[in-house]
Symmetry: C2
Subunit: 586 residues, 2 copies
């Protein structure tokens, strides 16, 4: 979940008693003496932090009207960890001994909590299955290597044992790329690189850093920031995802207009494969045949374990601002973003919400703060006098960085283009708020789920000329799907991540669970959205990866022959299918 929903004002609060209950002793085990912290076993983010609607007075009526769910319904405890039917570990003694001889017994764990934490990512499907106690298969053992030699030793042991290896990253996947296939008979080892979390080297002259794959976003930025640098990669999952995970899933951060996608940021890799290690050089560009680097990026664990990468870093910018804008329609906003991408202005992010997402943003505002000032009756009256339909207003953000003169010039170019498309400048307030709260959004999904609403996201990318037709097609198909389920559903969207030739569209949808088979209901809507993406010329995902959940659309996206090529590469590197089997190509 690499992007946020809207300029909401979620303040994560303690939410005791409303979450699945965790036995403290078991939880302690999950944060055992390996020193690696994890997210809640049952949902997003840190234990004790959650979303609360009670300081956002307009949200309850909004959600009640749009998806027929009352947020004041108490979110009951869903499940007690002790009640989870956790299958016993099938790891043979010899494998455990071999792993312990590599990394030390302290870093080889088979407790129920460790194995459950490493079973799923955080897709809605994952959360629903966990809440349903659906655990047909967990990893049999979790291993925490301390360095690349450990990774090599673990992989050798796995290969020798005829076992299976699943690299875990931060566990934030929302495409189902972490859980072992239910029918997997071989022992399954989950590899958690959480101890490999250091910036090893900064080449300040070249603005490149050599970094271990297991580092989490905040730890990475802290180490870089101490030297005056930033990587600038801020996906929505930032606080709980790792460099290796970003690379393995082709992540993209909110500021990709300036910093690039992870495939641009990653200049070289070390990847441990069965019997060998691929090492590429941090050269800026090269004509050395098909790009091995680009083969390893996005490999989702199927081509080995990413232990280290050289990534681009930038000196912290002199000035940094995110400005807000309003457009009279989504069409006008999208056209403006396109023109900005073509202009001489350098931006860090370009983003425009459709009218629905804008309305949702307004509904999540607290009293007397931020956006609320902007949507004051006064401003709205001005827009009405300009002839705007206030139901269609679209909120936009554009980010700027650099020296003051450059930022000023860029803002002037953008202002001119915004006005040319009928928009108005709102100013700094909403942008600051968006910037502060951007990592809080994922918490809302668990909160809604507790109250009987299924909510999720799907992202795509397409050419500029196809974005609006795609947008309309997705909305129609989602509405059709809601009708098939028999619910009043909600779908909203924003454009983000502008490129020369197109942009990303990021959809969020929600509806009330009406049966005891939420996975089926969810599947109807999710499938409709995904099919609409590929039918309208988009890609199956801009930055959420394939995993198993998007795999059904891969051949339609990159052609059957393209999908075959990926399967051929995986089979060549890993002939016995021991590396994260099932992901990407099924």
């Amino acid at each position: 979940m690499d992007d946020d929903v809207a300029a909401t004002q979620h303040t994560p609060l303690d939410a005791p008693g409303r979450s699945p209950r965790t036995d403290q002793a078991v939880q302690d085990d999950a944060e055992g003496d390996h020193g690696v912290a994890h997210m809640k076993w049952w949902g997003w983010g840190r234990e004790g932090v959650g979303f609360d609607h009670r300081d956002k007075p307009r949200l309850r009526p909004f959600v009640l009207e749009q998806v027929d769910v009352d947020l004041d319904t108490p979110g009951g405890a869903v499940l007690d960890f002790a009640d989870l039917p956790v299958p016993a570990s099938r790891a043979p003694r010899e494998l455990l001994d071999a792993l312990a001889s590599v990394v030390g017994a302290r870093y080889v764990l088979t407790s129920a909590m460790e194995r459950v934490v490493h079973t799923y990512g955080k897709s809605l499907t994952d959360l629903l299955r966990l809440r349903a106690g659906d655990l047909p298969r967990t990893p049999d053992v979790v291993v925490y290597p301390g360095d690349e030699d450990d990774v090599r030793g673990v992989l050798d042991a796995v290969v020798a044992a005829g076992a299976v290896l699943v690299p875990f990253g931060g566990g934030s996947s929302i495409s189902g790329s972490l859980h072992p296939p239910a029918q997997e008979e071989r022992p399954v080892v989950s590899l958690d690189l959480g101890r490999m979390n250091r910036v090893l080297e900064i080449d300040e002259e070249s603005r490149l850093a050599r970094v271990q794959g297991g580092v989490l976003g905040p730890d990475l930025e802290e180490q870089l920031g101490a030297r005056g640098f930033t990587m600038g990669h801020t996906p929505d999952s930032f606080t709980h995802s790792t460099l290796g995970g970003w690379i393995a899933t082709r992540s993209s951060g909110a500021q990709s207009d300036k910093y690039g996608d992870i495939s641009d940021l990653t200049r070289a890799l070390r990847v441990v494969q069965p019997g060998r290690t691929v090492v590429t050089r941090p050269v800026p560009s090269q004509a050395t045949g098909p790009s091995v680097r680009e083969m390893l990026i996005g490999s989702e664990g199927r081509l080995g374990v990413i232990t280290e990468a050289w990534v681009q870093v930038h000196r912290l910018p002199e000035k940094r601002e995110i400005l807000g804008y309003f457009f009279p329609t989504f069409d006008a906003g999208v056209a403006a973003m396109r023109d900005i991408a073509e202009s001489d202005a350098a931006t860090t992010l370009t983003r425009v919400s459709d009218a629905r997402e804008t309305a949702f943003s307004f509904a999540t505002r607290k009293k007397s703060r931020g956006v609320s000032k902007l949507v004051s009756k006064g401003l709205m009256a001005v827009l009405r006098r300009k002839g705007w339909d206030l139901e269609e207003v679209c909120l936009s953000f554009v980010g700027f960085e650099g020296g003051p003169a450059s930022v000023k010039a860029d803002q002037a170019v953008v202002k001119d283009l915004v006005k040319r498309h009928g928009g108005v400048v709102v100013g700094k307030g909403p942008g600051q708020l968006y910037d502060q709260k951007k990592f809080d959004t994922p918490y809302i999904r668990d909160f809604l789920l507790d109250r009987g609403a299924l909510a999720d996201v799907s992202d795509t990318a397409a050419r500029w000329s196809q974005l609006l037709p795609l947008y309309r097609h997705v909305r129609e198909e989602a509405d059709r799907a809601f009708a098939r389920v028999g619910v009043k559903g909600w779908i909203m969207c924003h454009l983000s991540h502008s490129y020369h030739g197109g942009a990303c569209l990021y959809f969020t949808f929600a509806f009330r669970q009406t049966s005891d088979t939420p996975l089926v209901e969810y599947g109807v809507v999710k499938s409709a959205v995904q099919q609409a993406f590929v039918d309208a010329g988009g890609t199956l995902s801009h930055h959420h990866a394939v995993g198993v959940e998007h795999a059904p659309w891969l051949a339609q996206d990159i052609s059957p022959a393209g999908r075959e090529m990926l399967g051929e590469v995986f089979a060549a590197v890993d002939p016995d299918g021991q590396l994260n089997p099932g992901s990407v190509v099924g």
Copy 2:
């Protein structure tokens, strides 16, 4: 040869009688009724066009001093086409009939000239072998498909016949990726896409064009320009290389700072493979596993035939300028380029020659034109007063495009950084000259070869922090190699193609042929330069591809495991090695 040597003033002139003699009837056959024109069978560029030194009074003494070759030596006719020992075509009748039934008999040719034209690219090795009459193997037949269906039919016929297919592009390869292995027993088909030369579609809103793979640079730009667009891709080979060839070899053009390398410009591909066709979508970014697009880019014919691509295009810029600068040392120039790459200034090209290449540029100037004004005694006196060692002066170019305000601001930023590194602004004159003459440079190599001088280029890329150590190491190793050959050799260099984390270094070297085994002498120097690249942290080539000539350094560059991965991909797509065997991985 995707970049130029220096800001030289080569005026290609008719050079009758000094080139290998071509029987007119045979040559007509090579430009038969298929309508596709080719370069000289024996060298670079158009028949009747060549380099001449006689209007450049300083060049003869310069070359005499540096490489002991007298340019006034008449370049005698090297070889008569009729004397070439062209092996007979081995194409079986059934294969020729099958090919004719696909594309029509008119487009299936087996003449000696057609086959010789399609045997080699334009590497120095290729030219030396041709001049020596060394033709152990030619293609057995040359086929000109008219569309993708033809390509499919040809490939099917090749696969069915157990033959070999070599896609030709424009034939400008300088890495030896076109000629069939000498020991190849199977029939060899050269596929020339010269008829597939159209821009099929321009999506003006998305600034993307769908283009056939066989189009040459000038034809492409003419079709785009008629609609107000440019691709902006201008490698040195521009006039005689094709879009498909650029993609297959990971080309980069002089203006890559703005427009990107071909891997950035190419957003989607259609590639005909044995039994299937890979089709990717022109989406701006996607998280669909390992990048199939990036696997096909750089595949040098080993993964099929690139029939079509979606490429980025730009509206023609309002303003375009290339300014000249002088730096007191190469170190200062490189440091300035690095700072420019980090600055807020947008540039189209950043380039600085070392002192030797600068001296060569000065030596190629005509009387009373361009650069000569700049190196007037007056300017030199000023620089001397500033304390410069005039032997160390380095010429630099930086290109700018955009609206007038943006160009002005960018030039101001660059001027400030140039001065910070001790440089001075020279102005527009030399930049205009460089821009006008940039595609003429490759002609000089044949001219030198005619007069007994072996000259060639090698390019690399490395991190900013490693560029100067690499530069010094290459110069040392080249000098050692010259000593081993027993000649006074010359090597010069420029930096070009700046990126966030590094840049390209482009070397040109020359020495007098002293034995009747020029290939051996050349091999000593070329190998030393290539080995120095990889020993000093660089890549084997920034934009000249691998072919067979750079293949010995591939494992050192991308690691043995990386090279194995490439071999595995090739073997999976083409299990019987029928697609351009020998290239990239040997």
